[in-house]
Symmetry: C2
């Protein structure tokens, strides 16, 4: 007899936590750091705030006050705490319990380029900490204009996917601090994740020269990335969906919730790139009455609208709502971190997949202090929405792109002192999984990445030919 039951999202991700990147103590420690740092960066550089981010990982075994004494032999790995502090926009107190204690809760479910997108990151860290140590997460937060600081200790009721508030307190601000401090206790494995955590922070700093990042590790070592500029790229903006990316279900939901009173108004008010002329053109093609009330649209009507949209020439999505890195920033970052002889970055024009605008950028660094590597092992620095991707490279479309480049056509002789960087930013990065480690092989995206790398490779070829000619001259 089959026993049927349903699971809440928290039960589901508790049982399948490896799918969210929490597969073992080393990986969990890394994932906890990155999820919290990505939240800190979203809370600052998307809001005109120069980021000051502090990451402290402590070995918690020895502290008598930690309440975890004597438990470390119970676990593989050791007991740690991860604390991430930022000077960002903070959270409204009423949302803190759910933001940290209810899976699938987020302020980033809107159409805007942000590092976060799933409403899971912070919660998975809280959950993993709770599973391995029993301790709740500690959150301190204050919004910019608020006079108060709020403190919570939050756990997760795994069966019901609701927050457990172990403690809630508030006090008046004595200075104008604003931001958020998140502290998670968990079983981690510092020795096995040390190298990846350092690399993640370095690669974050390379492309965020406007950020101060302070990192204190369990051995007491301190690494400080001081900001080298106060110039920040314009933050990404929220946009409306483009009609080409819309399906029946989305159209149904939008028609049900729109404030527009007619079909034509619905089309030009709810979609980007649709003006009154285009809206009328779509309605005419659909054969429906322009003054039809959106809430009265039947499924057949919606199908006619969808068909009419596909047959109408709608301007492609603009991409001025996106925030890319820029060729200058990529080249500076590659120069400072790799000390190459040659560097070239390329920012492609915006493109689209499934109604989401995206921009691909690539950078090539060559020579100088870069050690030589074989064709199959060209170091690849992957980024998506300004997040460095360090795991699952074999699964990433970026690795496939680099492997499929015919490097010999660009006069590269292996082993070669070569490094490639690829970045994609979009209102929706097509990740392969909720752990955000690899980008899926969407055809439009793969094509753009290939064109970007080839464009930079052509510059490399000119450079290599020039150096070859110089050597010949010198030898005469």
């Amino acid at each position: 007899v089959e026993k049927f039951k349903s699971l809440s999202p928290s039960e589901f991700f508790y049982r399948n936590k490896e799918i969210a990147g929490f597969s073992n103590p080393a990986r969990a420690l890394y994932q906890t750091v990155r999820e919290l740092v990505e939240n800190a960066l979203d809370a600052t550089d998307s809001h005109h705030i120069l980021p000051d981010i502090k990451v402290i990982i402590k070995n918690e075994v020895e502290t008598p006050t930690s309440g975890l004494v004597g438990l470390s032999e119970a676990f593989e790995g050791g007991l740690y705490s991860v604390q991430v502090e930022d000077n960002g926009i903070g959270l409204p107190p009423s949302h803190v319990p759910r933001a940290f204690g209810q899976l699938l809760y987020s302020s980033k479910y809107v159409l805007r380029q942000t590092r976060g997108m799933f409403g899971l990151g912070a919660k998975m860290a809280v959950l993993y900490g709770q599973i391995t140590t029993g301790k709740p997460a500690e959150i301190t937060t204050s919004q910019v204009t608020s006079k108060r600081v709020y403190y919570y200790r939050i756990g997760i009721d795994v069966i019901n996917n609701t927050p457990i508030i172990h403690e809630a307190a508030t006090y008046m601000k004595t200075n104008d601090w604003h931001g958020t401090i998140v502290k998670i206790y968990l079983v981690g494995d510092w020795q096995r994740s040390k190298q990846k955590i350092y690399e993640y922070l370095k690669r974050t700093a390379i492309i965020a020269p406007y950020a101060n990042i302070y990192f204190e590790d369990p051995d007491g070592e301190i690494m400080l990335f001081k900001r080298s500029t106060e110039e920040m790229p314009p933050p990404p903006r929220e946009v409306q969906p483009h009609p080409y990316g819309v399906d029946l279900e989305m159209l149904k939901m939008m028609a049900a919730t729109t404030k527009a009173s007619t079909l034509v108004e619905f089309l030009y008010k709810e979609f980007q790139s649709v003006g009154i002329t285009t809206a009328n053109e779509i309605v005419q093609r659909s054969g429906l009455r322009p003054d039809l009330k959106p809430s009265d649209l039947t499924l057949e009507d919606l199908m006619k609208v969808l068909k009419a949209i596909k047959e109408t020439n709608v301007k492609p999505p603009r991409a001025d709502h996106l925030s890319n890195l820029g060729e200058k920033l990529i080249e500076i970052g590659l120069k400072e971190s790799l000390k190459p002889e040659f560097v070239k970055a390329v920012t492609r024009k915006p493109s689209v997949y499934e109604g989401h605008a995206f921009i691909v950028e690539a950078g090539i660094a060559y020579g100088g202090r870069i050690p030589p590597s074989d064709k199959d092992f060209i170091p690849l620095l992957r980024y998506a929405n300004k997040i460095p991707l360090l795991y699952d490279e074999a699964a990433d479309v970026m690795r496939a792109v680099v492997r499929n480049i015919d490097w010999e056509r660009y006069d590269v002789v292996f082993p070669a002192p070569l490094v490639v960087l690829i970045h994609i930013c979009s209102t929706k990065v097509p990740y392969k999984g909720v752990g955000k480690e690899a980008v899926a092989d969407v055809p439009e995206v793969e094509r753009e990445m290939e064109l970007a790398v080839k464009e930079a490779a052509r510059e490399l070829k000119s450079y290599l030919n020039m150096k070859a000619r110089e050597r010949e001259e010198a030898e005469k």
Copy 2:
């Protein structure tokens, strides 16, 4: 101002359907077929029923009755229906709406080796069909002992994650048919997924010689895999969790729901491999009173129990609840499908990861009609819980294992006519994602796979040396 909201599981997987394998029409058509076939096999061979499975993919554009006429130009790809029929155990009618219309609903959330495990497969197919065509799924089902057949047309309320029952009917059975018929309308791309769908069905048939699988494709081509044996492996059985796989959260949930009245009774009744002696040993180490009521256990108590478990020598999990393929079946399957000169299969003894028992099996086929391939492109037939895995090979630990084998040590000279098969079965296959296409690199699993392939490779080496000696003899 950040806009916070929560998403239901259906909204979440609707927005991120590529994460469940529904990334484009070709992939969606493949995923729909496989999710339904895996459900059909779970409903038969796990229940002592020789599977009779019928898969029909139809091109739906031309049929006036389909109600989808004129809509195909609206979509990339074309309109199809996928129908899968089985002679399995059927579903109880009261569970049909949720089994097909509510995400995270399943009868496979228990600790038993099944192909399904997430409670998503059928629903993602229903959802994708609804998104692309607006049409509900059609389900016909009858349980073995039931006198009635039940018919439903089911859709999904995406916002609320609840089923929409478009139609429900029942009639008296006129014969002793039992089983389930599922029909989904969707936008697919037969040309682009044809090869993968054929390969999936062939590779399923290779390891299920006791199954009849009938496949009718959109071009009217019919492929029939007739069963070649009535012998079925014993079905997998449900087991209790092993203490080594238990964490604090799980212990908390089990202590809250157990019928046992004391701590000792809880331990030896709720866990596998724990008898009264071991239970008493664990309790003694924990320092807790043996007669403590499980529901009275505090978090500190549970931590002491967990620590005591880790310090106690508990028998490893047995694996007689698992259902592996067996060396004979693997060798027959490889012989019949590849016509090699040499074949050798290895079934490893059971092993454990995180409290889940697992068995790894490997097979090597060489020579005969196998075409030669280079070291990096050795064809690899991957299986997990008897499911063929066809996508994301680069991300699979199995590919890493095959790449890390020093084939030259086994006297293999590339290009070589070599094919490798790897199978893992477990109460929980450590998949990388909910689309079930690649196995994650769990250390214990990777190690077992490596040992299995090497064991088969040693046999290959003996064979190759013997052939070499024979050639030398012949040349004299």
